[in-house]
């Protein structure tokens, strides 16, 4: 492997890692607000992409609209997950909600398998015919660059909501002091629900990006994306959005580098090793939270 391949694989990985970053943000935001893990989150994301695929089979959509439909689909599925797994289950039984989301993960998976007979479905890519050549050997894929910028925009909008709007500041207030937030007139249920919708929108978009850059949608995507999302969340530090962004890009680059070096069958092993290294040497993640809440 020469230097060009090295740089090329890391660039591609960094760009694709933007989708991992979005998935990681979703996991980490739900954890930040509710202190609960939503294991159905990556399934929500893929389900959002499938919604846009299903709509696309009924009436042909421009590729850009497909992404929007996927985001909306993810938002709706995210809200359904909240209704089924969180709304009616008391906060005092964390295991019940955790297993509820596992059930939801399997359910979403099964629905997709039954509706598509388990066959992968083609998913439209954007700018896949664009290729920016830099020098003689090196280049950047247009579709990867597109999803990278799309996730940059999505992240910027999310951060704007979280840091500049009342909805976002109320969400952060709940994450920091749930009891005091309620006594400022903020409804915890409403905040939880809006968190699931917002992360669902983000997830649907990420699902569409994954579909677009792989070229197909398959039910086989949900489990690996769930695992990658959790790895990104842990490496970034539970509850930290900047951490999830950095960890997402890191995992994307790391994975693609080892895929180029050792092949697709071995690459996940090295990602697991990266996780293992973090758990051993920096168990709190890149941005470990020191503040506690009661």
């Amino acid at each position: 492997m020469d230097l060009v391949d090295f740089v090329q694989s890391i660039t591609d990985g960094l760009l694709f890692g933007a989708t991992y970053a979005l998935i990681g943000i979703g996991f980490t935001m739900i954890f930040g607000v509710m202190h609960k893990i939503n294991l159905a989150y990556a399934a929500t994301s893929i389900a959002g992409a499938y919604v846009s695929w299903a709509v696309g089979t009924l009436l042909p959509l421009p590729a850009l609209v497909t992404f929007v439909v996927a985001a909306i689909g993810g938002g709706i599925v995210g809200y359904l997950v909240y209704l089924c797994c969180f709304k009616f289950i008391p906060v005092t039984s964390p295991l019940a909600t955790l297993l509820g989301t596992v059930g939801m993960l399997i359910l979403i998976d099964e629905i997709i398998v039954h509706e598509t007979n388990g066959m992968p479905q083609p998913y439209p890519a954007l700018f896949d015919d664009v290729y920016f050549e830099i020098g003689e050997f090196y280049g950047i894929r247009g579709d990867l660059l597109f999803i990278f910028f799309l996730s940059l925009i999505a992240t910027a909008i999310l951060l704007y909501i979280l840091y500049r709007t009342k909805l976002g500041i109320a969400t952060r207030a709940v994450a920091q002091q749930p009891v005091a937030a309620q006594l400022c007139g903020i409804s915890i249920e409403r905040t939880n629900a809006s968190t699931f919708v917002i992360t669902g929108l983000l997830g649907g978009l990420a699902g569409a990006m994954i579909g677009a850059s792989v070229g197909v949608l398959s039910p086989l995507l949900t489990l690996p994306i769930t695992i990658k999302g959790l790895i990104v969340t842990v490496i970034g530090g539970l509850g930290s959005i900047p951490g999830a962004i950095i960890a997402g890009l890191l995992v994307g680059a790391f994975e693609n580098f080892f895929q180029a070096l050792r092949g697709v069958t071995e690459r996940d092993m090295y990602v697991m090793l990266l996780l293992f290294a973090f758990l051993t040497f920096r168990p709190g993640g890149i941005f470990s939270k020191t503040t506690s809440r009661d």
Binding site: K166, A170, R172, A173, Q182, L183, G185, I186, S187, T291
Partner: protein
Amino acid sequence: MLELQALSKHFGGVHAVDDLSLTVNRGEIFGLIGPNGSGKSTTVNLICGVLPVTAGTISFEGHDITSAQPHRAVAAGLARTFQNIRLFSHLTVWQNLWVAQGRTDGHESSRFVKRWLAGDSTARRSVSDLIAFAGLSDRGDEYAGNLAFGEQRRLELARALATGPKLLLLDEPAAGMNLEEVRELDERLRQLVERGITILLVEHVMELVMGVTDRIAVLNFGRKIAEGTPAEIQNDEAVQEAYLGSSNKA
């Protein structure tokens, strides 16, 4: 204004609050005192809906709020501060007040979008009023977690006021304050009453309670053992026994 009827809270076999009835009238400062563990904080938690009630009822301005969720109690006009300060320490002073002001729940959401688009100028004005009231005028963009202890207490009081309360529940607001700060607080509470806010004050610091309150109820082991004006309470035998007598018997 606030009426507790036969209010009880049991934690397992412990009767933290036992058959407590009391009435707080509009415009007064009502003191709730008692030795440690006598159920004062539990009572506050019951009133504002943080803890579920075991038995009894709570009514506020004629409405039953016994099982209302906290944000509903706030919407009805209740607000509180905490014994151990609970600010949003990663939000700025300004944001702490802004988020408490105008509720984000319920049907307010559409109005919220309009206000947000309109730049929210009325909200901004009264947030700066509150910052001035808390004496934090030059610290609006500081993170709440970076404030000094006394400033945090003042900010928490201002945050409670931001919700626009009719009744303010203060859980030991003078804890850890020196005498001068207590005097300042005394002054602030009187200002609030002038603005038409009723106060239920839970407190250990007797200088504050005896000076500022109109009436006082005394709790011991979750039960009310006395109620009256500060002068009556100071001369009440049962109260003196509750505070001093236990050490004689022990």
